[in-house]
Symmetry: C2
Subunit: 303 residues, 2 copies
């Protein structure tokens, strides 16, 4: 048993590293710096996109796509498109008018390393690049698949997803949201893109909608578990390890899972969500062990 | 002759009005305000998107699509998606860190009427909505058509299009760009989306790439003519009619077509570009008269 656990953590580590290398390679290809006045914009995108982050979302796409034997290059391109959206959202969220953060992934945020205008534009460019990547026939030969990937990502990024959640988050300051509202906020702000990362693997694998119920349940549960772990990290984490400023929610007086549940119940709730996520994978055998390991990892990570 | 000209201007006026009504209707449907903390975000999007602007880009899509008998609802949705990108770019360009404008289309800019965070997010949401609209099967039943529309719009919006042009524009301050660089800047900043508006009509009409040469030439030429007219308006226009602050390029010491060519040569150049644009339509008969009228209109508009 302890041997199996050690193996699992090894597999997860290998997968995390492989995906990080592959996503960096994709970003490097995508973001070649042109010899014209746009160079600074590309440098800013590279600063934000390359060599940082856990790459959790791409990992989820890879782990799901491998269940269905999807071509690795197709998966890499779709996963990078999703990470484009994640990175753009981090750049914009860090802006002075939003969360006003100086540090991200252990480096200065884009508006600190460059300037605000460049940060806004770098985010906008990564946003557009995500859809350019998905619309390209090199990502998938079948336009049905491409159109479905795009529809899913656009929904996850827009006002009914990530951007809507960020808007609720800004409104959270000074409001006293209840548990249902915080849950809804987080389902939009982080949950939608995590769900999309899993769904993209299934879309690439041509799994029909009615065959995705288990994977969707898995994604919904790890999305919430991930956010509760994030709230706990915000209170208990080490800033150097996490690579960004912590304890900001507290300072802003925002309600979180932690303020609403207390530390013990929040931990318990996160563990329960991970168990439920894993339970949603019961239709799969050992080929879904990486997804199971990722579920557990959402709680154990230190950044 | 003068009767024909009067008719043409009447047709153009009717088309401008019809398209404006249709685009407003689409935005109204798309941006129904939800009864949750995202309400403010939707209000901000409505403020920017509804009831303003010339709707030149949607008009170009309609005028091109009607050459090929495209369904009006498909056209309306694609045209609205393109206008989403245009409106988002205006919101972000107006931000304090960018062009710092207080007035747009005769109304306070979004960050003035709301706040900066809401303006950034409203732009981001309209950006995502554009692709959500195009990816939806209600826009076109054929996923090939949807994927091509998306690829074209994402390219036009991204670093090789509008956002890249805006980056060059920010670098223009304090630089002394030559005519070739200003032409390239404007081809990206405004030209790419104008070209995409025409191309979208052809894509919806299932015109193969090799059949679009004339329309592409037309679009490239009116894009530049439009920008020269914009530079002239910036110097000679009436702020109340134009609905935004003018004479900012001068104040920032930026090179424009006007500073590089002088007023007389700039006017002459714009007229030449319109003639060339119209010449590119020679394969079409009277069914392309609206496109011809739009070409002339780029010079005659007062806003």
């Amino acid at each position: 048993m302890s041997h199996a656990v050690a193996d699992a953590s090894l597999n997860l580590k290998t997968a995390l590293r492989d995906v990080a290398v592959e996503v960096d390679r994709q970003f490097d290809l995508l973001l070649q710096v042109p010899a014209d006045p746009r160079a600074r914009l590309y440098e800013a995108m590279r600063h934000a996109a390359i060599g940082g982050g856990k790459r959790l979302r791409p990992l989820l796409t890879f782990a799901t796509a491998q269940l269905f034997g999807v071509d690795r290059l197709c998966t890499a391109r779709a996963a990078t498109a999703i990470e484009c959206i994640h990175v753009y959202s981090l750049i914009h969220d860090d802006l002075p008018a939003m969360d006003d953060d100086d540090l991200r992934r252990g480096k200065p945020t884009v508006h600190k390393a460059f300037d605000e205008a460049t940060a806004i534009l770098a985010g906008d460019c990564l946003h557009a690049l995500a859809f350019e990547l998905l619309a390209d026939s090199a990502t998938h030969a079948d336009p049905f698949v491409r159109a479905e990937l795009i529809a899913d990502l656009a929904r996850a990024a827009g006002p009914a997803g990530m951007a809507g959640g960020q808007m609720m988050d800004l409104a959270a300051e000074g409001s006293s949201f209840d548990l249902a509202t915080v849950t809804r906020l987080q389902a939009l702000k982080t949950g939608a893109l995590i769900a999309c990362s899993v769904e993209a693997g299934a879309i690439l694998g041509r799994v029909p909608v009615e065959g995705r119920t288990g994977l969707r349940g898995y994604a919904r549960h790890i999305g919430l578990a991930f956010q509760i772990a994030d709230d706990i990290l915000d209170v208990e984490g080490d800033e150097a390890a996490v690579g960004k400023q912590l304890r900001k929610d507290q300072a802003a007086g925002k309600e979180t899972f932690l303020t609403l549940l207390g530390l013990d119940r929040a931990r318990e709730q996160a563990r329960l969500l991970v168990d439920q996520a894993i339970d949603h994978l019961r239709q799969f055998g050992s080929e879904a062990d990486l997804l199971r390991d990722i579920a557990r990892y959402t709680l154990e990570r230190d950044r």
